[in-house]
Symmetry: D2
Subunit: 205 residues, 4 copies
């Protein structure tokens, strides 16, 4: 299989608007760097900087920023979602992204499949709180429902020891286990996205 160029979009779901430093942005950028090694170019969107409205339609109108972000997702073959951990859950910004993707379940292409079919999603979770496995689970299920495919070991995460307060962007260097999992997830995502672009899922009903 030739290394045909692909594109990715990484949604960083930090609660902090730019220009604050963000652990989620850091991990999202690390994902884009790792994907670039597999000839996947991409861009990073800090979602909270945009006025994504509450709702479950593709366009909530009236200045809603989602349609622009959504068009980047539609144009890409790989979606990266990175979220901080708050109260053990994904951020409200990440959940809002999922709510907006809910519209993709009901509206389908001419072949009967959701528009997101054939795209691949990977996830990252950062936190000074425990919660990464659960958030990974919640993201996989929602993204898979929306039509994305989840590659083997398609996530990475970092948090410190229980009830400590260090943040990912305060570490002197990225821990090896987190970096290694990120690297594998990116490699698998690129591989799977190419397979599914060349050989799409069968048409639905």
């Amino acid at each position: 299989m030739t290394e045909t160029p692909l594109t990715a979009v990484a949604l960083s779901c930090t609660l902090k608007p730019s220009p604050s430093s963000s652990s989620s942005d850091l991990m999202a950028q690390q994902y884009l760097d790792a994907l670039a090694e597999h000839d996947v170019s991409g861009s990073l969107v800090r979602v909270v900087d945009h006025d994504v409205r509450p709702g479950v339609e593709r366009d909530m109108g009236d200045g809603d920023a989602w349609p622009t972000i959504r068009s980047q997702v539609v144009a890409a073959e790989v979606l990266v979602v990175v979220t901080p951990t708050w109260m053990g859950h994904m951020s409200s910004v990440a959940q809002r992204v999922l709510e907006r993707l809910d519209a993709e379940i009901s509206e389908t292409r001419e072949d009967g499949n959701p528009l997101m079919y054939g795209k691949v999603a990977v996830v990252g979770v950062v936190g000074n709180e425990d919660g990464a496995h659960k958030i990974t689970a919640d993201l996989y299920q929602a993204l898979d429902d929306a039509g994305f495919t989840v590659p083997a070991q398609g996530g990475t995460y970092w948090n410190g020891e229980a009830m400590h307060t260090t943040d990912y962007d305060e570490l002197e260097e990225t821990p090896e286990a987190t970096a290694s999992a990120l690297s594998a997830a990116a490699a698998n995502a690129a591989h799977l996205a190419r397979l599914l672009r060349d050989r799409p899922y069968p048409s639905g009903g």
Copy 2:
């Protein structure tokens, strides 16, 4: 124990701004009606109508609507949280409420306890999607972490058969099981809130 008057605040976490009809509002009002039978008066806040900012401080400044809502929570003995189900998760509005309550974990009263100690929380989940047990779990854990106490059988929910689309506010009448669970949760919350007001938790460290 005398039936001393207590107050409640019900946070409806629908994604739909007023004046749209809302299943979450309906269940929140049913909770307030049930609490009134136990001499607990209350008010309903549709959170999405207010500009609650992303963040984890008590006041994010610059027009943030949370401090006003928070003052109602602080003044009440019972907190009711009702959320719709999206992608199997609580709404982004509900998660934002939890994020804002995160500040209550780190800041404590003179006695060393969180300000929310002694308050009681009950929850309600509505959906045309499955997810109520999980959302109830996520809410109990986060509210309990923030200092609230969860009474026995402190929740109720409604959803239809798998993958159907009926909403709670479209039902001709509230199903008996949902109403009965709501009534028990309200009675237990009122009872427990009185106990804890008269006999507070021991002081912390």
Copy 3:
């Protein structure tokens, strides 16, 4: 309120039969020690040492060990559940305990309430994997459904940095944050159990 003697039972849900060392046993014993400071005496059950059968009845017959454990739960005012973290979830042994408690939801006392009403539950989670918030959530919801009350900040946990392999029972001493949360949960449980014994929830329907 006098410090009337109460009893507790702590269910350790490790996968390892005796006499293996167990982090869950260690935390369960720490809970019992902390409860003893509040005049609550108790005993520890390592569930995997007993033949608890799969099923959702109070007695699955044929040598089922659950009825004996259940009688200890029924006799106690405080239930402690401690579980390890596997794949980000509570252990299969802990889930089996919940399945057996499912029978308590449908069968009620003469006053219409579940037999577990008025009892208080606290939880502990140990792991070399992240997952504690989610497991705490899953336990609170299931135990609350079964009739238990969850006191404010009714849990504690420990795990190490992301993807590390240290176990709780390998630590030289218990980390302060874990110990402090355990101590508060035990104090609140003892307080609430006394309140609810003296002033039971109202009768159900």
Copy 4:
């Protein structure tokens, strides 16, 4: 791509030993029938009929039934996991399967990848209780961690209206939405398993 023959194994995680009727068995068999339409032959294992020991090793010794089941998983390209819903969670039998698959994360092939890399997993959840989205999430995350790939819309489920008691195997016919989702999951699994057999993931480190 030719329709090369593949094999599947379906693990039914009901709590009820044979010969009891089981909703999980029914859905597992429906999955196998749907896979057969895509030239994937398979067999069904009712896990509770076998003495799968608690633990996280590949073989817990002493009559442990897991090694035999594991060899079937290793020989197949597609894994189907179907579980009932108890207390809103997957069954203790399903969690035990995940615990036993935990061993696959640490032990890798000569190429550095887990043995399960390249295999595809789909899931099914049945219940007279709500919980399917959460259980699907928990299964996707754990199976993906163990090396399986999750195809787009890789699950199906059924439960009735909130707090009702009908079981899946009591329905006169399978609801259209559940059947349609199962059919799509099976088709996608077969497609993806063929792609990954012909074009394996890149080697790890």
